[in-house]
């Protein structure tokens, strides 16, 4: 299990390859990548604030829970903070399991929990304004299925 919180960009291909190389018993690897999206138009940067210390602990707790609930060989979470431009990669998760169902489900679980239980806050900055992104009820509801 590897948890990384960093400001710098990451190389999706290299990280996925490194993760796969370490998983010698899995038949399925799922990766998910989150990208900065310009929803309203005119987005200059997406600023991501976090709570150093708690962030790493919360992500490790969520990943550990996924390892316990599904038959995972390994899990990876990389999440960036700081000022990101549209189309930049914000984060990725990877899960490895003997079969794809466990890998897919665990990746969805990781994403659902990471969105509303890891201490990150997004702020959208355009030339006109800067606004904190509001949490969606749907994100909280998504936790109920687990």
């Amino acid at each position: 299990m590897r948890i990384v919180v960093q400001e710098a960009p990451f190389d999706l291909g290299a990280e996925a390859a490194l993760f796969a190389k370490g998983c010698t018993e899995s038949g399925a690897i799922v990766t998910f990548t989150g990208i900065v999206r310009d929803v309203a138009g005119g987005l200059e940067t997406m600023e991501i604030e976090h709570y150093p210390g708690m962030t790493e602990a919360a992500l490790a707790g969520i990943a550990q829970e996924a390892m316990t609930r599904w038959a995972l060989e390994d899990a990876l979470v990389i999440h960036r903070h700081g000022a990101l431009a549209p189309h930049e990669m914000i984060m990725m998760v990877a899960t490895a399991a003997p079969h794809r169902k466990d890998a897919f489900e665990a990746a969805e679980f990781l994403m659902d929990y990471l969105k509303s239980r890891a201490p990150f806050w997004k702020r959208e900055v355009t030339s006109q304004r800067a606004e904190w992104v509001a949490a969606k009820d749907a994100d909280e509801d998504a936790l109920k299925r687990w």
Partner: protein
């Protein structure tokens, strides 16, 4: 104890962290003390249903005890991913 603020809570109060000397037994008692300080605190803590709280870096509820606690953080609902 150290009290930390994040996102718009930090902006509204105007600082990221401060040391608070308090005898508050619970998070909610601490919130009431902070609200009474100044308008900017009253504004930030006007509606605690819009806030989340972590005690010693663990998410918790506003009725949580502050006994032996070193760090309390207030912030809006999280928006990671």
């Amino acid at each position: 104890m150290d009290v930390l603020y994040f996102a718009w809570v930090r902006e509204r109060i105007g600082l990221p962290r401060e040391t608070v000397h308090s005898e508050a037994a619970t998070v909610m008692e601490l919130v009431k003390e902070l609200r009474a300080r100044e308008d900017r605190y009253a504004a930030a803590f006007a509606d605690v249903s819009a806030l989340r709280v972590a005690v010693d870096q663990q998410l918790t509820e506003f009725d949580a005890s502050l006994d032996g606690v070193r760090e309390v953080a207030f912030f809006p609902p999280m928006t990671g991913g």
